[in-house]
């Protein structure tokens, strides 16, 4: 389902973007290997979302080139859109429609055969079968995000952009999203993930790139990034449980639900 090429699935060269006089991206270079997860780290306003919007053809760069799945975002945006899916910061679901109708809508717009079957399959994979006939407006934040990601995966796009996929989620929902992302990576999907949570990057990413003031200032594996600091000194510190550990122990649910998520879901009709 994923075409593995030697060429990186995402290649960004000297991309710049300014809003009026405010430069946001000042020459970004970045490669994401096919089938890998790259976490793009950066504080608010670092330009993460701008870069994702350029790569997903929502925004045009001022200069530089970017290819996604071998297609240039400026000259072949239609081919790029066929190869990607975008999950933005705000769950892009239609609240008036039911979960199932949302999935059918996306399957129809991707011209897949049997949109109903694909929708049911996705609902099952994301543990939303029971909620499938309810309007998305009634969903919790975590369910909405799962539906959002399920909608993005209809048609199995080989490249997935996740822009701060866990912002605003509770710890359980966050872990569910992480499990989905890990499963996608096992299936060979290329993922570019932006986050401001350092632990999220540690948990998920094959490589981590740090975007700061419009430039990539570091790019490497977690081990490589750790070597940038002086060698660790050994100190003995009493291990206190974090509040997250306590919370998860008390509610006793680590969100196995979404673990089943991701896999296959629908074939292209052409």
């Amino acid at each position: 389902m994923t075409t593995r090429t030697r060429e990186p699935a995402i290649r960004v060269r000297a991309i710049t973007k300014s809003y009026q006089d405010l430069p946001v991206l000042r020459g970004v270079d970045l490669d994401v290997a096919s089938g890998s997860i790259l976490a793009l780290l950066g504080s608010n306003g670092a330009g993460k979302t701008t870069l994702v919007r350029i790569l997903s053809t929502l925004l045009k760069a001022n200069a530089g080139t970017a290819t996604v799945h071998g297609f240039d975002v400026a000259s072949a945006p239609g081919d790029v859109r066929k190869s990607i899916s975008l999950t933005g910061q705000f769950a892009a679901v239609d609240e008036v429609l039911t979960g199932r109708e949302n999935l059918v809508l996306v399957a129809k717009l991707r011209h897949l055969r049997n949109p109903g079957v694909i929708a049911d399959d996705m609902l099952a994979r994301f543990s939303l079968t029971d909620a499938g006939s309810r309007r998305a407006a009634t969903y919790s934040g975590g369910m909405r995000r799962r539906l959002d990601i399920a909608m993005s995966l209809v048609g199995n796009p080989p490249v997935v952009f996740l822009d701060e996929p866990t912002t605003g989620l509770d710890p359980q929902a966050r872990i569910e999203v992480w499990q989905t992302v890990k499963q996608l990576a096992r299936d060979g999907v290329t993922i570019l993930l932006t986050t401001q949570y350092l632990d999220e990057a540690e948990q998920l990413a094959d490589r981590i790139a740090i975007l700061h003031k419009g430039k990539i200032i570091q790019n490497g594996t977690l081990a490589e990034l750790k070597q940038l600091l002086p060698p660790a000194t050994i100190e003995y510190v009493e291990k206190q449980p974090t509040l997250e550990d306590i919370f998860l122990a008390l509610v006793g649910d680590t969100g196995d639900a979404a673990g089943k998520a991701a896999g296959s879901g629908g074939e292209e009709s052409r």
Binding site: K82, I84, V93, E95, V106
Partner: protein
């Protein structure tokens, strides 16, 4: 990609029509104000209004009421478009291989269907209140044609508002002047009863020619030059609003 333009527009229109089916109050609300105006004018004010003709007052004022119905109905189009833009769903569509005009056309076609539904309701109430016409099938088709063209022209104005509004209120506020336009026209009283400058404005604004055309069609009178003036106004507004809306849209998505 263009091969899918029609099917994608159809799919997206199905989506927003479902929004209307789930909140039919948007159609009811659209119909309530014109119906209330109709009651007010026919049963309260109408007796004192001399239209200078022997037709019943409801026959005289229904065309204007229908235009008010459309002018208030298109506010919902701007509102729905604005909500789509503000939520993430718009960006999802933009990042998918969908012909981009399909997203706007779906809202326009939905507006057409919703407004026709409101028109049918208002016309039904008018029939109950005593509206009568000897219009032939061809006359009715002509009436429908003019109303559809008027709806399309106003809908593209609504698209401009929906695309450029900053707040929900802003997205629908643009429709108030459009709703009031029929009051300063031949819709409720003959224009020659108005003082000079007002009469001049009323004579030369688009609503009067449209109202006079519809009234002539319902009364089986010759439409004269009015129909061409009415069609020119509608077509001109449609072309200008369409050009402006697509220009704003293109700027918005690039």
């Amino acid at each position: 990609m263009t091969a899918h333009a029609l099917s994608d527009t159809g799919t997206l229109t199905g989506r927003s029509l479902r929004h209307i089916l789930r909140s039919p109050d948007t159609i009811i609300t659209t119909a309530v104000t014109p119906v209330a105006l109709m009651l007010l004018f026919v049963y309260v004010l109408g007796g004192a209004i001399n239209t200078g003709s022997d037709e019943s007052y409801i026959d005289y004022m229904l065309p204007g009421i229908l235009l008010i119905t459309i002018a208030s109905g298109i506010a919902y189009t701007a509102y729905r478009l604005f909500l789509d833009m503000r939520g993430g769903i718009f960006e999802r569509f933009q990042s998918m291989p969908i012909p981009r005009p399909s997203v706007l056309w779906a809202h326009v076609l939905t507006s057409l269907v919703a407004n026709l539904a409101s028109i049918v309701i208002v016309t039904g109430v008018a029939l109950i209140m005593g509206f009568r016409t000897g219009a032939s099938v061809a006359d009715w088709l002509a009436v429908a044609g003019v109303l559809i063209l008027f709806t399309l022209a106003l809908t593209w104005i609504a698209v401009i508002a929906g695309l450029s509004a900053k707040t929900v209120d802003g997205a629908s506020a643009f429709s108030y002047p459009l709703i009031f336009l029929p009051f300063i026209s031949s819709a409720f009283v003959p224009t020659d009863s108005m003082p000079g400058p007002v009469a001049w404005f009323a004579e030369n604004q688009p609503v009067t020619s449209i109202v006079d055309t519809l009234r002539a069609l319902f009364a089986q009178q010759p439409v004269g030059a009015d129909i061409w003036i009415a069609l020119a106004w509608c077509a001109g507004t449609l072309v200008a609003a369409y050009a402006a809306a697509t220009a704003i849209y293109r700027k918005k998505i690039s």
